[in-house]
Symmetry: C2
C-alpha cells in the first residue's frame, strides 16, 4: 500500500517561516573578499534533519555556497579524533574571548589561541590534522565532510582564489603561531589548507544533515556512516555553544538555546543534541556577521517548538514501560489448578519490569529506583529489554551495580530480550560492578522462559510435595463431576504412552485425533521447528493438551515436544464421539468440562490483556 | 509490604566518589573576607536530586555555608519574573566577558554590565528586584530562595557584617551603575541587599534541589511549588552556561557539559535540564575561584554517567508506544461472525497509535511521521494518550496541524484517554492550526469507544445490507449444525423479550438463569453502575450474551444494559439442562457450539495479547 498524501505539520511550519521571512531584507552580503560579494542576496533555504534521518526542506536548500567558518568546529573534531581532547587543549583553548573573530587572541606566554572558533585557533587546528602533505590534509578534510554530508565534497576554486589573494591577516596569524611553535611546520601551507577548507561548497540540506550527525552521537543518520568519534561530539558542540556565533554567542544561547555555528557565506548550522540538526542559508549578514534571516528563523523555530536546550520537558519515568508480577500474568506454561492457585497467591514475589527507549542515566535511574522499591519477600526480578532501543555505558554500570545489590539481597535477577543490545553484557562486565558472572544474568533469552523458571522455583518453595496428583485421573479438570464408575469407564478408553526427551508428541499439520493428559513430565509447544521456531507454551503434569480436537477438529496448529521423559494418557476423538451414544451423560460432562477449561483460559487471557493495557505506575 | 533493603547504585557511586575525593587537599579557602577564611576546609558534601524529586546524599550535605555568587543566577531569575527578558537585556547583557568576576566590565557608552554573573551585573540585577524598600527586596529574595529549597532561608549575620565591612570595590561599582542610570535609586541600598543576598546560608542538599527545580521547568519537584516562571528558566541557565564558572566557563561546558554556578563559599550547583540537579560543597577553591573538589566530582559524574548535555542518546521514536489496527485488535464489541470477518478484512483501515512519555517537538514529530505514513485508504486514526505524561505547546501545535491535515484527507482522527492532559485541547485550539472544532477530536474518552464507533462506520460502508440475519436463529453460532427440525425445537424453547433504552437486561450478582440471543439493537456490559462504572464490552444483533451460565452457572459478573431498543431471545438454563434428557443430540451440539464460541474468543484474546506485547515498529 502507498502512504496517504498530505503535508506534514513540520513541513507546514517550515514553509510558513520561509514565506514570512523571505521578505526580510536586513543586513548585507559579506564583501571582504570579491567572490563572496557576488552571492545572490535573496537566496533562502531552511532545512531540518532529525536524529533518525528524516529531512524536511523549504526553499533554496540545494543551492551551493561556501562553508566558511562553519568548517571550524568540524575540522576541530577531526583534530580531536587525531589527537584526543587533552592534547588539543594544549594547542587551543576553549574559553570565549570577548574579542572579534579575526583578533589575534593568543596567550601572551604560550601563544595558544583562546579557542578554535577564532581564525587563529582555526588555523592552529587545521595545522594539527594529521597528514604527510598539505594535499593529504585537504583530502582528509574533504573526506571528513563527505562522511557528514553523505556526498563527495569539493572546494569552490573561485572563492579559494579570492580568499588566498586577500588573506594577509590570516598569513600573519600563521607566522605568529609558527613563532610560538603552536604550528610546527610551514605556516603558509597550513594557512593555504585553511583557505581551501573555508571555500568548500555546501548546501543548506548538507548543514542540516551535518547537524543531525552531531545530534546523533557522530553517526550520519541518513547513511549510517560515523563521521566523528562519539566521545568528541561533546567537545565540538561545546565550542560551538560558547563561541560559535561571534560576539552574539551568549545572546544566541539565551534566545535560541542550541549550539550553532555561522559562516560569512550566509550559512548557519544549529544542533539540538539527541534530536535534530537545522541548516539555514541566507547570505545577508547582520552586524555581528551572522545571517540575519537565519537568526530570525532559528529564534522562531526554538520558540514555537520549544527547542531551547535548557528548558526541555523532564524525562523521568518515560522509560519504565510496564511493571507487573507473575500473580497478574504468568508464563505460558499451563499448570495444574492447584499450582495455578499457588502462583496466584505467591506470584507477587516475581516481578517483571519492562523498559523502553534509550537507556541513559536519568531514564535508567527511574527504573533502578522502581526495582529498589520492590516489596520485601520478592524472590525474583526480570528486567525485559524488548522495547529498549539502546543502553549506554552509564546505564550498563547502573544495571551492573543493581544486579550485584539485588543478588546480595537474595533476590534472583535476570535481564531478558537483550540480544539487540549487543554491548550491554560487555559494558556491564567492564564496569566491574556486576559482582559475578554477567552471562548468568542473561541466560534466559525471553521473559517467558525466565518467568517459567522463576515460577518453578517458587512452586518448589511453596508446594514441595506437589506431583501427588500426577497419575490420578481425578486430578484432571476433564474428569470433574464424574463419579468413580464413570472415571473407570473413561480410564479404560485412554491409551498410555511414554516419550523420551525431544520426541514429538503432536506434529504441526497432522489431523487432530486426540486429547493428551500429561501424567508425568512437561511438554513444550512450538510454532515451527522445535528448537528453531518459537516456543509459545508448555504444559506440565496434571494438564491437558489439544482439547480443541474435540471442539472444532482442525489440524494441529503447533508441534508439541517432550521436554525430558513424559507420560501421557491419550483420549481418541473417535472414542469421545462414541461416548455420545454409549454414555451421553459422560460425554456431556466432558464437553462441559472442556468448555469450562476454555472459559478459565479465556478469563486468564482477559486478565493478561488488562495487565498489558495497564497504566504505568 | 515494606520495601526490600539494599543500597541504590546511584547512592553507591556518590559514596565512592565522596571517599575517593575526600583525600584531595588542593586549593585554599577564600580569604578575601575574614569570616569566609574561618570555614572548615575539610567539609565535603555531594548531593544529587532528580527532576521528579528523589534526593541522594553523601557526606556533609546538611552543613550550612553562604551561597555567595550562586545567588546571582537566581536573583537574575527573580528580576526576569518581575520585568521580562527583553527589559532585563536592556539593563544587563548576556555575553561572556573574558574578564575577572570583579572587573568593572561596563559598556563604555551605556554603562550596561556585560552579564549578570560578574559583580557589576549582579548588583544591577539586585537593584531591579521590585520592592518599595530594601527590606522588602531582601524579603522577596529570601522568599524566592525558600521556594527553591522548600525551607525558610536566612542571612548569616557574621558573613554579612564581614562582606559589608570590606566591600568597597562593590560600592564603587554601585556608584558607577548609578552614574549610568543602570541603577535608578540609592546605590548603597542595592549594594547592601547584594551583600545580604550573598550571605544567605544554604546547604549542599539545598543546592541540589534548587538545581532540580531548574531542571524541572521551574517547579520544585519535592514540594511542587513553582519557584520561577517556566519561560525564564532557559535564560537563567543560559547565563550559567556561558559565564557561570568565572574564567573556566568554557572549560566547564567542555568537560562537564552542564550549566553551573559556583560561589566562593565552596558551593557548586550544576543542572542537567529535564533530568537532575547536583550540589557539591567543599570550601577549598582552585585558581579560578571554583571549589577544587567540586570540579573533580562534577567532571567524574559527567564522565561515568554520561551527563554531558551535548552528547545525549538520541530520543526519536521512544514516545511511540504501539501502533496497531482494528484488524489486529478490535473493540470490546462482540459482533456477528459475518461482521467479524468484515472487520478482519477491512479493519486495517482503522489505526490506533499509542504514545507515551513527555511529548515535545522531537518525540511528537516521530509520532506525527508515523501517522503521516499511514496507508492510503485509512479511514480513521485514533491517537491514544493513556501513557503520555505531558504534552507541551509545541506538541499541541503539531497535533493540531496534524488533525487538520488528516481530516482534510478524509480520514477521521480522534484523541483518546487525554483527560489527564488538561491543557492539550486548549493549547491545540490556541495554536489556531486545528482547523475546526477541537472538542470533536476529544469526543470519545476511551480508545475502545472510538474504536467501536469507527468499526460501525466501516461496517456501514462495507456491509450496507447487514442485519438480514437479525431475527433468524440460523445466524447464531449456538445453532450451528442443527437441522431445521432441531432449530424449530430450539426456537420454541426461547422467550422473546423487548427492552427500552437503559433497561437492565442482566443484573450483576443475580443468579445466572439464561443465555441471551440479541436479535435487535445493542447491549452494553458494565462493571458497576451503568453510566458510572466501566463499560467493558458490548454485543450487537446476531451475538449471544451470558453463555457461561450454561457452563459454570456462577452469579452474573456484570450489568448488561439495553443501548436503544433491544430485542432478545432468552434461553433458560433449566430448559437447556432438560434437553440433555429429551434431545441429547441437540444438547451436545449446543454445548459444542458454546465451547467453539469460547475457543474463538480465546483465540481472539491471544491475538490481542500478541499485539499488546509486540515490538514497536
Amino acid at each position: 500500500m502507498t502512504a496517504a498524501t498530505g503535508r506534514s505539520p513540520v513541513q507546514a511550519i517550515l514553509d510558513a517561516l520561509h514565506a514570512r521571512y523571505a521578505g526580510v531584507r536586513d543586513g548585507a552580503v559579506a564583501s571582504y573578499i570579491p567572490e563572496l560579494a557576488k552571492a545572490d542576496p535573496d537566496r533562502f533555504g531552511i532545512c531540518l534533519a532529525t536524529a533518525d534521518g528524516h529531512v524536511y526542506e523549504a526553499g533554496d536548500t540545494r543551492h551551493e555556497f561556501t562553508i566558511q567558518s562553519i568548517s571550524k568546529p568540524f575540522v576541530y573534531g577531526l583534530a580531536l579524533d587525531d589527537h584526543g581532547a587533552e592534547f588539543m587543549r594544549g594547542k587551543v583553548g576553549v574559553e570565549p574571548s570577548g574579542d572579534a573573530f579575526n583578533a589575534i587572541s593568543l596567550h601572551k606566554a604560550t601563544g595558544r589561541p583562546v579557542n578554535p572558533m577564532i581564525n587563529a585557533g582555526a588555523i592552529a587546528t587545521t595545522g594539527q590534522v594529521k597528514a604527510a602533505t598539505p594535499e593529504e590534509r585537504l583530502a582528509r578534510i574533504l573526506g571528513m565532510f563527505a562522511r557528514y554530508t553523505g556526498r563527495p565534497m569539493r572546494v569552490d576554486a573561485d572563492v579559494y582564489e579570492s580568499e588566498s589573494r586577500t588573506g594577509h591577516r590570516n598569513r600573519a596569524i600563521g607566522h605568529l603561531l609558527r613563532n610560538f611553535d603552536v604550528l610546527e611546520d610551514d605556516p603558509t601551507a597550513a594557512v593555504d589548507v585553511y583557505f581551501r577548507q573555508c571555500s568548500i561548497a555546501v548546501r543548506c540540506v548538507d548543514l542540516a544533515v551535518m547537524g543531525a550527525t552531531l545530534a546523533n552521537q557522530g553517526i550520519n543518520p541518513v547513511t549510517g556512516v560515523r563521521a566523528i568519534e562519539d566521545a568528541n561530539v561533546e567537545h565540538v558542540l561545546s565550542v560551538m555553544a560558547s563561541c560559535g556565533m561571534y560576539d552574539f554567542s551568549g545572546g544566541w544561547i539565551d534566545t535560541v538555546g542550541m549550539p550553532a555555528k555561522s559562516g560569512v557565506g550566509g550559512g548557519v548550522l544549529a544542533v539540538l543534541p539527541g534530536q535534530l540538526g537545522i541548516g539555514v542559508f541566507s547570505p545577508r549578514l547582520d552586524e555581528q556577521g551572522n545571517s540575519a534571516r537565519a537568526k530570525l528563523v532559528c529564534e522562531e523555530l526554538s520558540r514555537i517548538w520549544q527547542l531551547h536546550q535548557f528548558n526541555p520537558p523532564s524525562s523521568p519515568r518515560s522509560s519504565l514501560r510496564l511493571s507487573w508480577t507473575a500473580a497478574e500474568r504468568g508464563s505460558t506454561r499451563s499448570r495444574h489448578a492447584a499450582e495455578c492457585a499457588c502462583l496466584r497467591d505467591e506470584g507477587g514475589r516475581i516481578r517483571v519490569v519492562e523498559v523502553q527507549g534509550n537507556l541513559a542515566f536519568s531514564t535508567t535511574e527511574s527504573v533502578v529506583r522502581e526495582i529498589m522499591a520492590r516489596p520485601a519477600g520478592t524472590r525474583a526480578v526480570i528486567v525485559d529489554f524488548h522495547h529498549a532501543t539502546a543502553a549506554n555505558e552509564a546505564a550498563a554500570r547502573l544495571f551492573a551495580t543493581l544486579a550485584a545489590g539485588v543478588a546480595a539481597d537474595g533476590t534472583a535477577i535476570f535481564f531478558t530480550h537483550a540480544r539487540h543490545l549487543a554491548d550491554l553484557p560487555g559494558r556491564m562486565a567492564a564496569s566491574g560492578e556486576a559482582g559475578g558472572d554477567v552471562e548468568r544474568l542473561f541466560r534466559f533469552p525471553s521473559t517467558d522462559q525466565a518467568l517459567e523458571w522463576c515460577e518453578d522455583e517458587l512452586l518448589c518453595e511453596w508446594m514441595p510435595a506437589r506431583s501427588a496428583w500426577a497419575g490420578d485421573l481425578r486430578g484432571f479438570e476433564i474428569a470433574a463431576g464424574l463419579d468413580d464408575a464413570e472415571i473407570g469407564i473413561l480410564g479404560r478408553l485412554l491409551e498410555r504412552r511414554t516419550y523420551a526427551e525431544g520426541d514429538l508428541v503432536v506434529r504441526q499439520g497432522d489431523e487432530a485425533a486426540g486429547l493428551f493428559l500429561v501424567t508425568r513430565g512437561r511438554v513444550g509447544v512450538w510454532l515451527g521447528e522445535p528448537g528453531a521456531g518459537a516456543r509459545v507454551a508448555s504444559f506440565s503434569a496434571g494438564t491437558m493438551v489439544g482439547e480443541l480436537a474435540f471442539i472444532d477438529g482442525d489440524r494441529r496448529s503447533a508441534n508439541v515436544v517432550a521436554e525430558g521423559t513424559v507420560e501421557c494418557a491419550v483420549f481418541d476423538v473417535g472414542d469421545f464421539r462414541r461416548l455420545a451414544e454409549t454414555h451421553p451423560r459422560i460425554h456431556a460432562a466432558i464437553l462441559r468440562n472442556i468448555a469450562a477449561a476454555l472459559a478459565t483460559k479465556l478469563r486468564r487471557a482477559n486478565r493478561q490483556i488488562s495487565v498489558l493495557g495497564a497504566q504505568v505506575p
